[in-house]
């Protein structure tokens, strides 16, 4: 019964989304105010119905209702409760429901926090979100219904892939989806602006906090995914340039570009068409990611079970959503005249360069991800594009980006003098250059140009950010939150680049054979194999080793790498023991028994690997601070003035052909 309620609630949610998608939009065009006013309550109703639907599926998982096919395929009664909850979105159907719920949630949030937004604009934004929801719910109900029942009810469900029975699955997908779907808000705002044919500073102020928050979720989601892969997969990698990872990276990079471009649109009324295009691009790439993950057109380690029929549905959906928005863009973009002119040396130019580099990065990731398919389409055989390619193309772009980043802080809007910038930046430039070359010499006593480059970029951006705050000459407590957000997020970027550089260059690994009582020394750490025992936990049996790690004779930690057997045609799993630290991780994976009380181990020393994710945490935190800046809350008080003045602005804009890159 409960699953049927869930199913029914989903159908109702679809109908509500249809109403939300059609009436307010049409009403806003033909001037029917009562149609327009449907938008907000509809968004709440949709959220409510989707929550019911979601809770019903959750109940089916928690009550081990194996009559529901999706539950039977992905969960069993032996699994711990947390993993039965997260199993809900561990496979295709349930993850779509989470997608839809998150979309409903964003819609309701926009409806709720919309006091300053004119009703017509709000109605259009919510309509677009409703239409996106229609697509996703139709997809679910037609091809991937999570509530489908089985005629023959199995006594026990299948084991969820042991890789997914993990805390990572509980947090990574919800975060990532919050980010992906959050970009639909910016997208909907862009569509509304295009229908309107107008884009002003107020619009940018509405769009900015929503974009920031979506970006924050995306940042956390990607970082969590990287961290999960690191501890889960057992070889200590944190980024593989897999198509599915790239699919999450592309919207993030575009989102980063969008955040910066929105700043220009708000403050200088420039980059308008460009901002709109980025809004469309960000969400389009989210959808493209969904398509790539679920259609099976690219081989990836972590794609969902693929199905060409589903692939075709998503492709048609993509065509409808992205295609129509780009058609609208093609016909409407010329209306967005940018007003604020600026000179070659100015903050606008700096941000333009930032945007160009970020978009070239996105294009590179997209090109690299799809190139095997392109080659194949022209029947020129099969090729692989992997980490060596992406590293060699993205790193130089990244270097350019970080160099620009430091200067960007000091650039003034509209027009600046190169000499002034030089006066402001010579100190951080010199200090970071000296640090970059001296630090490696005193610590590792060997010279590697890449180390110095990474350290230089990191310290340059950090110092530039800090000097900029100081140079504002205001008490740190009186600075707007957005300024702090920016400084913190950029220091996060610096931290990540330092982490990436150091762990890539200085990590060491060793495969060793150890008998109980023997030890091995790696990077100064002594790994002593103390004992091994067999333990039974929940739904697996494990061999658990105990390893004492010491540094200069002092015990650092006891590590417990395991090898788990989940039985029932599941592969054995290695559980790495990790001793995490601010400046280094120690990572031990247990291999095979080699007889004579000996086992094989893989030992890793990974310096500064945490900095990669701590940097992402700072980025996200900075993004949050910026999103909650006071000025976004002040905008409610904006006074409505006569329409006449608005026309005046249009006239001035005619004599000022602006940048519409």
């Amino acid at each position: 019964m409960i699953p049927e309620i869930g199913h029914f609630a989903l159908i109702l949610a679809l109908s509500v989304a249809l109403v939300q998608g059609v009436f307010p939009l049409v009403g806003s065009l033909i001037g029917k105010n009562h149609w327009v006013s449907i938008a907000k309550p509809a968004s709440f109703a949709q959220m409510f119905l989707l929550t019911i639907s979601f809770v019903c599926l959750l109940y089916a998982f928690l009550s081990n209702d194996f009559s529901v096919k999706y539950v039977a395929n992905n969960s069993n009664s032996q699994m711990p409760t947390l993993f039965r909850v997260s199993a809900l979105w561990g496979a295709h159907e349930g993850s779509l429901l989470l997608w839809a719920l998150v979309l409903g949630g964003w819609g309701a949030a926009v409806g709720f926090f919309s006091k300053g937004i004119p009703p017509v604009m709000l109605a259009r934004v919510l309509s677009v979100m409703g239409l996106i929801g229609v697509g996703f719910m139709l997809f679910m109900l037609l091809t991937s219904n999570p509530f489908e029942r089985l005629l023959q009810i199995p006594l026990e469900g299948r084991q969820l892939n042991p890789l997914l029975q993990d805390f990572g699955l509980a947090v990574h997908p919800p975060m990532l989806y919050m980010g992906y779907v959050g970009l639909s808000v910016a997208f909907s705002f862009a569509i509304a602006a295009m229908i309107d044919g107008k884009l002003d500073a107020a619009w940018a102020r509405w769009a900015r906090p929503w974009t920031n928050i979506a970006w924050v979720f995306l940042t956390f989601g990607i970082a969590l995914g990287s961290w999960w892969a690191y501890y889960e997969l057992g070889w200590g990698g944190w980024w593989f340039w897999d198509p599915v990872e790239n699919a999450s990276l592309m919207p993030w990079i575009v989102g980063t570009a969008l955040i910066h471009s929105l700043a220009v649109t708000e403050k200088r009324a420039s980059f308008k068409a460009w901002t709109i295009l980025l809004c469309i691009l960000g969400f389009s790439l989210s959808l493209l990611g969904t398509f790539l993950v679920r259609s099976g057109i690219l081989t990836s380690v972590h794609s969902f079970a693929s199905d060409p029929e589903r692939g075709l549905f998503i492709l048609i959906f993509l065509l409808a959503v992205i295609g129509s928005s780009l058609v609208l863009f093609a016909f409407r973009a010329h209306k967005f005249r940018s007003v604020g002119a600026f000179s070659l040396v100015s903050r606008e130019s700096g941000l333009l360069v930032n945007n160009v580099i970020l978009i070239v990065m996105t294009a590179t990731v997209l090109l690299g991800t799809l190139y095997p398919l392109i080659i194949d389409a022209f029947s020129s055989g099969k090729i692989s594009v992997g980490p060596p390619y992406f590293n060699s193309v993205i790193i130089p772009l990244g270097v350019l980006l970080y160099i620009t980043m430091g200067f960007g802080f000091f650039l003034r809007w509209k027009k600046d003098e190169p000499s002034r910038i030089l006066k402001k930046t010579w100190l951080p430039l010199t200090v970071s250059l000296v640090a970059a070359f001296v630090l490696p010499l005193v610590t590792v006593s060997d010279f590697n140009i890449m180390t110095s480059l990474g350290l230089f970029l990191g310290s340059w951006v950090t110092l530039a950010a800090l000097m900029w705050v100081l140079s504002l000459g205001r008490s740190p407590f009186k600075l707007p939150m957005a300024a702090w957000g920016s400084v913190i997020a950029h220091i996060g970027m610096a931290m990540t680049v330092i982490g990436i550089t150091l762990v890539s260059i200085y990590d060491t690994e060793k495969d060793v054979r150890l008998e109980v009582g023997q030890s091995y020394e790696l990077a100064g750490y002594n790994f002593a194999f103390k004992k091994i025992e067999s333990v039974k936990v929940d739904n697996y049996i494990a061999n658990r080793a105990t390893m004492d790690v010491s540094l200069n004779g002092e015990l650092v930690n006891n590590m417990h790498p395991e090898k788990r057997d989940y039985g029932r045609d599941q592969m054995p799993m290695t559980e790495a023991g990790i001793d995490a630290g601010f400046t280094r991780d120690l990572f031990v994976a247990l291999g095979e028994p080699l007889g004579n009380n000996a086992w094989s181990f893989r030992l890793y020393h990974k310096p500064f690997v945490r900095w990669i994710w701590l940097g992402a945490v700072l980025m996200g935190f900075g993004g949050l601070l910026a999103a909650f800046d006071k000025r976004y809350r002040r905008m409610k008080k904006i006074v409505v003035e006569p329409v006449q003045s608005a026309n005046k602005i249009k006239d001035t804009s005619k004599n000022t052909p602006g940048v519409t890159a």
Binding site: W235, Y371, G386, Y389, A580, R610, V617, K648
Partner: protein
């Protein structure tokens, strides 16, 4: 949100020991570090042709084990990086390389990004030059403020 952040911080720094796919551990000895590095580089850059996008180092597939073994043999025999790459591509084609070789069919892949970068930088240079030349007299701060308030009202006065 703060709670979320804190728990995120804690979990990022905490020692976690969680599950992973079984790693296959092999013992190899090398003449010197260069040889070892060559081997490690090669198994990281060669693809397990049977797998769903995994390199030789990461894969447990039997084929990957064989290919690793062959790579090791060749490295120990003193073969160069090129020899191993040629050996593998002769059998599996360019598909086996994670770093696609530079040839006519991969020209777009390698030249595309830098070309796009220079073209777009050139384009923005032109656009910025053009529009900054045509820029009208600069507005005073008062004027700018009035325009700003008009811009705001402009959007709020919609219908």
């Amino acid at each position: 949100m703060k709670y979320l952040l804190r728990s995120l911080m804690i979990s990022l720094l905490m020692s976690f020991s969680l599950s992973a796919i079984a790693v296959q551990i092999e013992f190899h000895t090398f003449e010197n570090e260069q040889r070892e590095k060559l081997y490690l580089d090669l198994i990281a850059e060669l693809r397990c042709v049977k797998c769903q996008n995994q390199n030789l180092a990461e894969s447990n597939a039997e084929l990957a084990t064989d290919m690793r073994e062959k790579t090791y043999e060749m490295v120990v025999e003193g073969k160069s990086r090129e020899d191993v790459v040629n050996y593998m591509t002769a059998r599996y084609g360019d598909f086996v390389l994670y770093k696609p070789p530079f040839k006519s069919k991969t020209i777009l892949l390698w030249v595309g990004p830098p070309l796009l970068l220079f073209l777009s930088l050139f384009m923005i240079l032109r656009i910025v030059r053009k529009q900054s030349k045509q820029a009208p007299k600069q507005l005073s701060d008062d004027e700018r403020d009035s325009v700003r308030s008009m811009l705001k009202s402009n959007s709020s006065s919609e219908k």
